[in-house]
């Protein structure tokens, strides 16, 4: 049996509950809702599936095919754009290969995260502090039975999230993000999904090939990530409910730039702060960029370019960006 292919969530629940740490809030209904989220995270990484989904943000709609399989070597994931010119992204554990529409191939290494992320007790308690988690009505998505989970923010610093999880596998079938006025920021929904069975694996790229490709791309070999607990950069007015989860020095732009990367989380949404020297000639232009739920804001602070990225409302992002200061090492 392939890991996770046909297992029932009851099994996951038993598995996960046995290792879970009691939460501050002992409400059994809430415990069950949080468990559903754990099941979803587990399912996303341990299930073999392939399907087509639609993504919509504003007037922009696109269709993509996603395939996820696991084997002894780990996780393999493929995202193919089905509209416009051909383009796709393939992930092999921590290596990401992008075939761009212009024929270019890019390879990136994912840093700062293990192959299998788990929801930590810290993250779960943050979730409960910042969101009211409610079990919604049962529904059907792409012909599959789904449970719904609603994450209602306790303030206006974050978005409302609604998720549909497949009742059998725990896979995320549909997700909608809304602002505080109930306007849809973006949504994502499977129109067709097959779980388990014979999924084509011919597209899987061997690690050896990826390593060779990485060596060929200038400077990639030099990419080194070091955990830097104290870079001296601080966010003075961190929005309520966000905690620092990570701080590191990492390379960007194929190793051409070394940046300080701070990561904050409220349990569901993340905010990244990147600080790099202007001497490294960043390609990013100062300003605000938004793509659905994702906001990016860049500005110059002294001789540095500060870039803040997060799936939070622009005001939350700007609060972070405006309070970043160098306090010295």
């Amino acid at each position: 049996m392939k890991p996770g292919s046909h297992m029932k969530p009851g099994f996951f629940l038993a598995l996960l509950l046995s290792s879970s740490i009691p939460l501050a809030m002992a409400d059994p209904a809430m415990q069950e809702d949080v468990d559903w989220l754990k099941v979803m995270v587990f399912a996303a990484h341990r299930t073999d599936y392939t399907g087509t989904f639609i993504y919509q943000s504003g007037s922009h709609v696109e269709t993509s095919r996603i395939t996820h399989v696991t084997d002894a070597a780990g996780e393999h994931e493929r995202l193919e754009g089905l509209d416009g010119e051909r383009h796709e992204i393939i992930r092999n554990n921590d290596q990401v290969l992008c075939y761009l529409a212009n024929g270019k191939v890019l390879i990136k290494k994912r840093e700062g995260k293990g192959a299998f992320p788990a929801l930590l007790p810290d993250q779960l308690s943050a979730l409960n502090e910042n969101y009211l988690i409610r079990r919604g009505e049962e529904d059907r998505v792409a012909g599959l039975h789904a449970h719904t989970l609603l994450f209602l923010p306790r303030d206006n610093l974050r978005y409302v999230h609604k998720m549909w999880a497949h009742s059998d596998s725990g896979l995320l079938l549909k997700a909608v993000v809304l602002d505080e006025r109930g306007r849809v920021i973006e949504q994502y929904a499977f129109t067709q999904l097959s779980i388990g069975g014979n999924i084509d694996r011919k597209w899987i790229v061997q690690d050896k090939f990826l390593d060779k490709l990485r060596q060929q791309q200038a400077g990639v070999g030099a990419a080194v990530t070091t955990a830097a607990s104290e870079s001296g950069w601080q966010v003075g007015a961190l929005p309520a409910g966000f905690r620092k989860v990570l701080e590191m020095r990492r390379s960007l732009r194929d190793g051409k730039a070394q940046v300080t990367h701070l990561v904050f989380s409220d349990g569901l949404a993340g905010i990244s702060v990147f600080i790099e020297s202007l001497a490294d000639k960043p390609e990013m232009h100062p300003g605000l960029y938004s793509q659905g739920v994702m906001q990016i804001y860049s500005k110059v602070v002294d001789d540095n370019l500060l870039t803040v990225v997060g799936e939070v409302p622009p005001r939350t992002l700007l609060q972070v960006a405006d309070s970043v200061r160098f306090r010295g090492q």
Binding site: R110, K113, S265, L268, E283, L288, Q291, G292, M294, V301
Partner: protein
């Protein structure tokens, strides 16, 4: 020249005129510039995704100064925040219009439309600038909790995925 391009794009030129114009665009740098500007404006008015463009060094400096002027250090109220943001957006809108007029001369109707489009959003820029964004998006998605549930679907936000 601008009018000719616009007329051609509206399909109102005769075939031989169109060919002559296209050949001119091909061989004359100024004509090519006009052609690119025409499409840039079109893109600016149509794009659903927004990206700001580094319009001038002055704007960069002003953006850098602006939050300091508007935002108190601690306990920043939401109202101030909203104001700071809309101020930043309108500043960029203004700069875009100035930049456009420098590029294309006086074309009041187009500028007016650009300003209206600009009211709440920031303007699109070239693909190159957007690809610069991907590095940060991908780096963020590696570490963001939202990726845990969505998997590769979260790459949908990147330029590489479209």
């Amino acid at each position: 020249m601008k009018e000719r391009i616009s007329t051609m794009m509206d399909g109102e030129l005769f075939e031989d005129e169109t060919e002559a114009l296209l050949s001119r665009i091909k061989h004359h740098p100024e004509a090519r510039q006009e052609w690119q500007t025409y499409h840039l404006i079109g893109d600016a008015l149509r794009q659903p995704q927004h990206i700001s463009r580094d319009i001038s060094a002055t704007l960069r400096e002003r953006l850098q100064l602006e939050p300091t002027v508007l935002a108190p250090r601690r306990k920043i109220s939401q109202k101030v925040r909203y104001f700071a943001m809309s101020a930043a957006a309108s500043l960029m809108a203004l700069a875009l219009v100035i930049w456009m007029s420098a590029q294309i001369g006086a074309e009041p109707a187009t500028q007016q439309m650009a300003v209206q489009q600009q009211a709440g959003a920031v303007q699109p820029a070239g693909l190159a600038a957007r690809q610069g964004v991907d590095d940060y998006l991908m780096a963020h998605q590696e570490v963001s909790p939202s990726t845990d549930v969505q998997g590769a679907a979260s790459y949908i936000h990147t330029v590489a995925a479209r």
